[in-house]
Amino acid sequence: MNPDTSLGNAPVFAVKDLDVHYGSSLALKGVSMEIHPRRITAIIGPSGCGKSTLIRCFNRMNELIPGARVSGEILYHGENIYAPGVDPVMVRRRIGMVFQRPNPFPKSIYENVAFGAKINGYKGDMDELVERSLRRAALWDEVKNELKKSALDLSGGQQQRLCIARAIAVEPDVILMDEPASALDPIATVRIEDLMQELKKDYSIIIVTHNMQQAARVSDETAFLYTEVDEKTSARWGIMVEFGETSNIFTKPTDKRTEDYVSGRFG
């Protein structure tokens, strides 16, 4: 399960006309975009516009919410992950995810990193895999002598890096990050952002962030989501307004709504 380096520049993900419903209410409408390999793509937008909903579509995590329904396609290396007959468990094994609040298991640091590999039947050298993953997550030096310690004893920033190591250990080629630094202090945040630049060399990263400056600092491409409202029913749903190179989105946005958002006229 090595990251596929033969892809060249073909998109890792191609989203085609994605709609998401929770029960009878629409949450996302008509989203289309592409995720390119070994780049960081940021998803930004005002709160409640569906950023988390969108990112959770990439690894079919939305289905864990009762009543969630997805229509449209998401092609992962050309295969539609929502095709009938596709097992979501297998989808999640190829795509890693890191959450807003660090959520290590109440086990040891070693056990946390090894968890994904163990359930996938990894037969190789587990110690080596754990060390490699912790090194890549820039956590090895701090914990190498305390691998048996409980993960809950680590600081918030360390826990988040542990979660990244845990996600990397199953050797995905994409890492999804849902506001990975919003629960961390500024110093830990900087470390995560630096780590992302390192990880970019081997993984494609999609990050949701409500922090525009972070998106501008960190990402190569940015997607801007916005909420549309139906005046009559006051139903709200998210749409993708604009998607492109980060520098363009922030300096030469083509849509007025994008321009208003990035210049801070609303939050």
Partner: protein, 321 residues
């Protein structure tokens, strides 16, 4: 609110510093009429009522705690004189009227039956709780199971014994397994409900993390959810075991009781600590009653140890969360 009426009662006794120049309906209790605060008290009747009610409530506590102290004290006292190595390791003497001997046949019987009941009811109960929290959630089947589990915790334990008699004893006779079946029926609803509460406490984020790593549902349950909830589930299980060890009524018609030391699992009546205590309590002989006291001490120690360890477990696991 009736508070208004209360506040409006009789005049307050004030220091006689200023004669009330005009009477108002507050009786001079308002600050603007110049009454001083120091020494001001509410009406005597209200004070008295307050003190009386506090007294009653304190006496309720005292009256309730007295039996606790008395039971523990007297069982320790009366039981200690007969307690000893002999008591713990020997069976009843040939003639029940004589002193000496012990309740070891009951101890073994309790251990066997509670052990068997535990082996059956704990896995079944935990898995049932897993169904309620992870699969059924709010559907009709889960609601039904929850409701009737609650109902079953209220079923008199003697009725459980009667049922097991009609279902099993008529076919298989008295035996340890039958008694264990009755105990398991009593334990299972308790374990299901307490395990359910513990499983509900496992945070959603932990489950999300597991699923995001590509774990299947059963893997998430067995490797993340159950280990996380394990301390709380253990507490509930220990309390259920303590309860089963203290049951008497359902064993009367399923294990029947025996004066011999029995280790057979089926086909022969077997005694329990509780049954022996019951017999001793009824017997008109000094010696039998003395043994009953020692048996009560033994049983109480066992039950209290389980209960206290369970509670300590519970508070420790909450701390580490």
């Amino acid at each position: 609110m009736a508070i208004q009426q209360v506040v409006n009662t009789e005049p307050v006794s004030l220091e006689p510093s200023r004669p009330a120049s005009h009477s108002d309906s507050w009786g001079g209790t308002r600050a603007s009429s110049g009454a001083r605060l120091i020494g001001a008290r509410p009406a005597r009747r209200r004070v008295w009522r307050n003190r009386a009610s506090a007294f009653l409530i304190i006496s309720a506590i005292v009256l309730t705690l007295i039996p606790v102290a008395l039971i523990l004290f007297q069982i320790a006292l009366k039981g200690a004189s007969t307690m000893g190595w002999t008591f713990l390791t020997q069976s009843l003497p040939f003639s029940v009227t004589k002193a000496g001997g012990g309740f070891v046949n009951g101890l073994i019987g309790t251990a066997i039956m509670v052990g068997l009941a535990t082996i059956v009811s704990i896995p079944l109960g935990i898995l049932g709780a897993v169904y309620l929290v992870e699969y059924g959630k709010k559907n009709w089947l889960a609601t039904l199971i929850r409701f009737f589990s609650d109902v079953m915790t209220g079923v008199p334990s003697i009725f459980v014994g009667v049922f097991v008699y009609t279902a099993l004893v008529v076919r298989f006779g008295y035996g340890a397994v039958i008694g264990a079946a009755a105990l398991a029926l009593i334990m299972m609803p308790i374990i299901i409900r307490s395990s359910e509460e513990m499983l509900k406490l496992v945070p959603l984020e932990l489950k999300d993390a597991s699923y995001a790593l590509g774990a299947a549902k059963w893997q998430t349950i067995t490797k993340v959810i159950l280990p996380s909830a394990a301390p709380g589930i253990t507490t509930g299980a220990m309390l259920a075991v303590a309860r089963a060890a203290g049951e008497t009524a359902p064993l009367i018609m399923t294990a029947l009781g025996s004066i011999q030391l029995v280790t057979k699992l089926t086909g022969s009546p077997i005694s329990s600590l509780t049954l022996l205590i019951l017999n001793g309590a009824r017997a008109p002989y000094e010696a039998a009653q003395a043994r009953a006291w020692a048996g009560a001490l033994e049983l109480l120690v066992i039950v209290l140890v389980f209960t206290i360890v369970a509670r300590v477990f519970a508070s420790r696991s909450r701390l580490s969360r």
